[in-house]
Every structure is written in C-alpha cells, then in structure tokens.
Amino acid sequence: MTLPGAPAAFPQVLRVAGPLVEMECPAAVAMHDLVLLGADRLPGEVVAVHGDTATVQAYAYTGGLAPGHPVEPQGRPLSVLLGPALLGSVFDGLLRPLSGAGDLLLTGGPDRAPDVRTWPFTPRVAEGTRMTAGDVLGEIAATVPLRLLVPPGRSGVVTAVSAAGGYPADAVLAVVDGHEVCMTQSWPVRKPRPVAERLPADLPLHTGQRAVDLLFPVARGSTVAVPGGFGTGKTMLLQQIAKWCDADVIVYVGCGERGNEMADVIEELAELVDPRTGGRLSERTVTIANTSNMPMMAREASVHTGATVAEYFRDMGLDVVVIADSTSRWAEALREFASRMGELPAEEGYPAGLASQLAAFYERAAAVRTLGGATGSVTVIGAVSPPGGDRTEPVTAHTERFVRCLWSLDRDLAYARHYPAVSWADSFSRDAGVLATAHARSGDPDWAGRRGRVARLLAEADRLADLVELVGITALPPRERISVLAGRLLREAVIQQSALSPKDAYSAPAKTAVLLEAALTVIDRCLDLVESGTGADAVEAVDFTPLLRARESAGPAETAPVTAARDTVLGRLAEAATA
C-alpha cells in the first residue's frame, strides 16, 4: 500500500518492531544515512544493509507506522547544526531545540521555531587572503566569545567576507574557495571532527569539589567515569561539576534520566552566577535533555551529539566538558536495539561491541592542537549506574578499563550523609602524576606529597576503624588513636562538601588549599602532643568544632576564616597540653 500523495518512487517500510524498522533498500542508501519514515517523517538512521533490505533505527515513537508506508532517504548521515544558538539552550537527543516545542513531545519531534536572534560578527581577515581549514575568519560575540573558522576540508582564497554587524544564525558570513561559510554549520554526529594533533592532557581541570581536586584530580582532555548505585548522589555530583568547574563550555547530556531532575538543573543553571564571568551559568552551557521516557534510540544518538557539540567549541580553542548522565542508559539502548536486530548477545545480553563502543565514545575526549593551531580540550565525564550496585556488570567493568579517572560513589558514605560520597578506597586518577608535575611547574612542588599524605591518613583511619569496632578506641596506642582522629578531621573538615550550601557548594583552589593546610597542621600538632606525653584522651577531648565548621563559615574563595579557625583549635590544643 502506498500512502495517498506519496511519490511511488520512495522505498517502502517492510517491517516495524518498536524502534526497529526494515525498509526496501535502493542501491543509493548508505550505512548511517538519515531516512524519514512514514507520513510523520520520523527520523531514523540506517544501521544495516542486507541484500535489498536495510535496517533502520528510528529516533521517534513508531506507533501507527505500517509496512507500505514511504521512506525518504536523505542521502546524508545524521547531522546536527552547530552555531552560537547552542549556548544557553536545551535540545533533544538529535539536537532539535526543545524551547520552542509544546508542553508534550508528540510524534514527529518538536517543531523548530525560527530563531530570530542575531549575533555580532567581526571579520578578522581581508578578502583575497589564502586560508586553510581551521583558520579564523572572524569573531562571533556570543555569551562565550566564539570564532568563525574555515570548516574542515576547505582551503583557498577568501573571496567574500561580511562586514562587522549582527547576523542571524543561518547567515552566510564568508566565501572560501567558492564555498559558503555559514554562521551555523552542519556536522555528522558519528564522525569525530579532525584536529592537527593530540596533545598530552597535562593541565588540571579545577572542579571546585575538594574530594575530586585533592584526591582524584582530572586533567583537561581526560576521561572520568562516575559509578554509583541509586541514592549515592551521582547526579548531584555531576551537576556540581557542571556548575562550578573552570571549563569554558559545558555540554550536559541528560541521557535516559529523570525529567524533574532535568527541569531542576535547567532552572538552577539559569539562576546561578558564574563566579568567573559574572554571567549566568546557563550561558556557557548546552543542555541535551533526553529523559528516560523520550524515544530510546535518540538516547543512543545523544552521547554522540554531545561529543560533536563539544568538539565544535574545542576547535575554537576552548576547554569543554561533556557530562553524560548516564552512560548505562545509553548502553541499554544499544542492548535493546542489538536484541531486536537478533545479534548474538555477549555478557548479560549486551552486544559484543559494547566495549569498543564505550571506548570509542570516551576516546572523543582529548587535549588537542586544532587545525588552526590553537589548543583546546574535550573532557568527558560519564555516570555509570550499575544494576543492584554490582560493579562487575559489563558497563561498569568495561568503562573502568577505558577511563583515566574513576570517582566511585560509595553507598555507605552516602547513607552516612557524607557527600560527595567519592570513595577514597575504590577511586583512582591516572592523571595525578602529570598533574603533580603541572602543579610543581606552577610553583607548588609539594602538591603530590600532600595528596599522598591525605590518602595515607584516610586509608590508615579506615583500617583502624575496623579494629575500633572490635576492641574499642581506648585499646589502641596513642598514636593510632590520633590516626583515627586525623581521619575524622580530614573527612569532616576537608573532604565533605554540601552541594546545597550557599557558601561551600563551590570551593576555589585557595580555599581548598587552606582547608587542607589547616587540617594537616592540626593533625601534626596532635601527633606532636601525644609524642611528647600528652594523653590521647586529652587530645580527643579538645573541641575541634571551629575547624569542622570552617568550610561552612568561609565563603567560596575566603581563606581568613579558615586560618582563624585553625589558630583557635591550635590554641585549644596548647591548653590541653598544659592542663
């Protein structure tokens, strides 16, 4: 059956099973080509071609789609539009704006409301200049300063360039070698954008979260996985990073997660002020919202969409962070589709290609020299939601192998209301070595030593805590009793950080450093006291409250209240010694 009005030349749908659609395959249809299905023109992507049929993964609800309905091959891969309109906006998994869509997302996807905004453009080249891919044609004054570049694959003489002024998103701003260069450019989502070379990732990304910055730091251009069962604060930690880390652009991909949470993060970003620019945090953020009840296969595309958007900004010499919450839901979409395709399952029904697909996604992170010679980076942070908290399940187990840093969230810490619940025993940072060198270069040679000491103190306190439960604290020798105390001071005075606190949600490098210094000084003094004969009882009885409260009483970048609290506690320790 052919729908009335549809040209007979279109190939037809043959089979529909949820998001899996089979169609007739004219020779011209290539793998990963975009097709539009049925009268509603639902977007889909060709994922297999066998003989005269092709398999399509549909990015929308296929209810009502029937064999015989027409398919329009688009002759190009699934692509997204990259331009200044991305900043501050919210999109679905295929990068269609959600702001203009209705209250309910009906079949066919959101309608694209015409964008009437304009952005000031300033040319930086004269006509007649010879340029190559990645060279700067001009500057676009968006909420983050952007550049108009010669697109990858193009080079030649600039035959026309627009004068300075405001232009809409779809304006042609220059002509290079006979090809128009538009303010907004299209790029296939599955194809990484080219770079001149990959650079070693050796500069720290400051996240403003002490548990991360002190213990498990991440470099710009590195990769992080955040595994944690439900209720361990994954989304909270990732939202904190999205708000406060010192990247230029954040791409937040909500992939198969809660709608209310997305609404919350969108609202908060629009209200919070960026401490570095004074603008709103939302102005440097691109949000891709594909909640768990939105079409499942768009979830599969959304992580690639996010990486593509990040690479677009990176190519302008910016540092970008992609946050994907959660990669497990993405992997489930892969499994769902593989199962419908009848692929042989590997572990727990996941396709055998799961590991390589995960690796390919995380490899889109890099510090690079761009085609134009600037340096930029994409850092990828992915949440992992292990079913039943089981860390041996395939997604967690594979992800751990491919990432440079692991921030493992611990259920016991979360239940004890210790946030962020980053476990110091189960997490790692393979960037710590290069970052120690970077800190040493920038005048802090002791950084690695301090980090090592904190890690040792926490591990020692954990080991002793098990013992204390059996024999009681008083059975321990004085030095070990101080180790238990040291663990508590580090945890409560330094590592803990409340995302809800107006003063401590973000901790500037100076505050983080002074809090740690204060805690370590107090711990050293306690050790000195018991060495010189003061009883451990007396030291433990000292009121450390000012030190424990210092993180809450000092503002995000304040150091003086912390120093004062340290001195108060040191004074009390001196009294305890003479008592």
């Binding site: 529909v16 089979e22 009502g64 209310n260 609404a263 768990s292 489930e332």
Partner: protein, 466 residues
C-alpha cells in the same frame, strides 16, 4: 476505541502463549489496537507487537486460551489504543482494561487520548515544590510526598503495603485544592480487591476516585495496559481539568512479571533474572508521566507499590525503580514484627524532593529541621541499639540510654497509627517534637535555639556526658 476498519482478518498462522500471528494483513501499523472475535461470540483485545510485511504479531490481553486457527477474526483499529478521557471517570470502578466493573454504563468522554502518552517536554516541566499531605505521620514528616513526584513504596510479602496504599489513597489531600486519586490494582487477590473497594468507597462516592482493578485471576497481559489507562486518565484530570492527581499503582512486581511473560513468549534475549533488557525504559515510560507543567494548574504524583521478591532490594524491579524514582518509602519486616503499623523504616526511606516541598509556606517552618534532627537522632539510636546488644545496657552512657528511649518513643508516639487515622500535619510535627524532647538539649544541635526555647527543651542534666 473508534475507527475500526471493516476488514477482518482470519489468517491465523500461529498461536503461542499470549501471542497470535496473523497473516495476509495490509497497512497494519505497529502498536495498533486490535479486537479479536471468536466463534463463541466472545470478543478479546490485543496490541500489535510487530508487523513484518503481511504478518502481524498481536499480543492478546485476555490470553489465547480457546482460540483456534479457523474460528478467529481479527480487526485492527488503525491507530494505537486511545481511550476516552474526562471527569466521567471519577467515581467509577473498572477492570484492568477500563471496562466498567460497577454495573454502570461504559465510561464516555468528550475527547480521547492515546494510552501510550507523550513525554512532557523537559523545558516545560515545573520543578515540584508543594506537598501532598497523606495524614500518615512517617510519610508527611520524614519522606514528604511532593506534587509531581514519583515516590515508590518498597515492601515485601506479608507486609501491609496494601493497607498503607489504601490509607494514603483515602486520606491524601492538597490543601483544599481540587484533588483526585487514580488507583490501579494489578494482580490483586479478590480479598485484596474487595478491601481496596471498601477502603476507598467514601472517596469514590465523593467522585474523587478512579478505581481500576485487575485481579490475580484476570488475564495477566491486561496488566500491561492497566497503569497506562490509569496514567492517561490522570494526565487529563491534572493538565486539562486542573486537579492534583495521585496515582497509586500496585503491585509493580506483578506488572513486571507480565512484561517478562510477553518477552519470553517473543523469544527475546533476557537480561537480569530473565526480565527483558527494556524493563528500565518500560518502567520509566510509566513513572516519568508524573510531574507539573508550567502554566497549568494540576499535577500528577505517582506512588508505585512493589513487593521485593524475598525482600531483595537489588532485584531488578526495585533496583530499576529506585534509579527512576525520586526516593523510596521502605517497609520493614522487623518493624512490623513488633506490631507497628505502618512499618516504615525511617532510615532507609527518603524523599529526594522533600527539601523543596517542605518548610515555611509549604508545610511548616520548623519541618525541615525537625525531620533532619529526627533522622539523625534515629540513626544514633540504631547505633546505640547495636552497641547495647553487644555490651549490654548497663555499659551505656546516660545520653546513649536516652537515645534508646527516643527510639521507643518514636515507635509508640509517632510512627504507630491506626489504618483509618488521618493525622493533621501539625499533630504529626508536634508528635515529632514530643519524641525529640526525650533527648537533652545538647543532643538537638540541628534545631534553632529559639524553637528549643519555645518548646522548653530540657537542659543538660548535671553529670551527663555531652
């Protein structure tokens, strides 16, 4: 359910479990609704699971028992299942397919809507920030239910989750604003179904209730439809009629088992414990239908109830539910064993949206502090209880002993209430204060000093350790 084509197909190729494969079909779309006529005159209903050229795989809601290859005629509706919506549902009792079970006429409505629903646009969602009051102290004070939230009850076999669900459904209010409850029962025994009908009779008579009951001997596959009908009716009552709607869905474990049964019949590759790999997305397609929409008055709040098989919280159904929902209310066999109703475990329970939905202007100004302090004190009590078991009461400090008193007071004066006792929030909060004041003032550091003064919190007794 209109729009049926005149074409009836008779080419039944295969009957397997709940599935029937029809051949020779033309123009039948995926997820279409079908009616099946048997020679006996019986009519059954189905949904299209797959269409492949001229074959359609149909999942029969009433099961395939008694169907044969020759005497079965199948007609397709041309669209996915739509049901009439509107205020006409209020006060009605229906079976799991939405057909009247109260002797009344079929439910009619001015408009009809697809039961699959459409996702709420994330940018049009209003973050939930106002409470639904249930009249149950432990829920209202410690895990406040917020309008637009999804908050499940995790229970186990033998615990009174149905009593709690019915009590909440019977008592819940939204501060005088228009309110309604949609109660979807899946796989209930007849005794349970009668209990639900009796417990909610008053609300039903007040035309504030829609009751959909699929009993344990009703067709299993019908359960896949029941929550979708409930949510579709609820969405209309909320976003068109402007009511605050609470949707209670019990038991989600029975629902998930029906999903597993269909998946197995289709020969799909199983994931954890043979549940299909899409269980997360399927549950999310139900739970995520809660929420508020900017500029519209109503809200949909979802309270799924599920029994954890063998009390295992890592079982796929509670585990995946926990990943989707915004907190959980956990019932505990230990609390129930000592005869306490409702047997809510306050430390394992959590409402993630509570910090937005409780406090000045929403519940009461002292509510967040009281709740936080009570949870902290109970956590300490539990530690002390474990210590007491190990070393004996006599070795405990006076403060520790007070914490044991607090635990008792919590259970007797706060947690325990009758199944028909509707406690006002003020009463619940005052009881929480009453429980907290069994502790000396030095142990109540999370409460503001002026409130403690007003409540005349006891000073430290001489000789007591801090």
């Amino acid at each position: 359910m209109s729009g049926f084509a005149d074409v009836e197909y008779t080419g039944v190729r295969e009957l397997r479990g709940p599935l029937v494969v029809v051949e020779g079909v033309c123009g039948v779309g995926w997820d279409e609704f079908a009616t099946i006529a048997l020679d006996s005159g019986e009519r059954r209903h189905g949904l299209v699971l797959e269409v492949d050229r001229d074959l359609a795989v149909v999942q029969v809601l009433e099961d395939t028992a008694g169907m044969d290859r020759t005497g079965t005629r199948i007609a397709f509706s041309g669209t996915p299942l739509r049901i009439p919506v509107g205020a006409g549902w209020l006060g009605r009792v229906c079976n799991g397919r939405g057909e009247p079970a109260d002797g009344g006429p079929p439910v009619l409505g001015a408009t009809d809507t697809a039961v699959a629903g459409a996702p709420i646009n994330p940018v049009r969602r209003e973050p939930p920030n106002e409470p639904v009051l249930t009249g149950v102290s432990a829920v209202d004070v410690l895990t406040t239910l917020v309008r637009g939230q999804k908050l499940p009850v995790f229970s186990a076999a033998g615990l009174p989750h149905l009593e709690l669900a019915v009590q909440i459904a019977a008592q819940a209010t939204c501060g005088g604003e228009a309110f309604a409850v949609v109660f979807a029962g899946m796989g209930l025994t007849h005794a349970d179904a009668s209990f639900v009908r009796a417990g909610l009779a008053e609300r039903s008579a007040a035309r504030e209730l829609v009751l959909l009951l699929n009993t344990a001997d009703d067709p299993v596959i019908e359960r896949l439809l029941t929550p979708r009908i409930a949510l579709t009716v609820a969405e209309d009552l909320a976003f068109t009629e402007g009511r605050h709607v609470l949707v209670v869905m019990t038991d989600m474990t029975a629902y998930s088992e029906a999903l597993r049964e269909v998946s197995a019949a289709r020969g799909e590759i199983p994931a954890r414990r043979a549940y299909p790999g899409y269980l997360y997305s399927d549950l999310a397609s139900l739970y995520e239908r809660c929420g508020r929409i900017r500029g519209r008055p109503g809200s949909v709040t979802v309270l799924p109830v599920l029994t954890m098989p063998a009390g295992d919280i890592t079982h796929p159904v509670p585990d995946l539910t926990g990943y989707i929902t915004e907190g959980q209310i956990v019932l505990s066999a230990e609390v129930y064993a000592v005869g306490t109703y409702p047997p809510i475990d306050p430390l394992a329970s959590l409402s993630r949206l509570m910090r937005k939905g409780a406090g000045a202007g929403r519940t009461r100004a002292d509510h967040p502090d009281v709740a936080a302090q009570l949870i902290a004190a109970l956590a300490r009590s539990r530690q002390v209880r474990e210590l007491a078991d190990l070393i004996g009461r006599s070795a405990l400090s006076p403060t520790d002993l007070r914490h044991l008193d607090l635990e008792d007071a919590f259970r007797q004066r706060f947690l325990t209430q009758a199944t028909d006792e509707n406690r006002p929030l003020d009463d619940s909060l005052d009881r929480a204060w009453d429980v907290l004041l069994t502790l000396p003032r030095s142990q109540l550091g999370m409460l503001p000093a002026d409130l403690l003064d007003a409540r005349q919190a006891g000073a430290q007794k001489p000789g007591e350790a801090p």
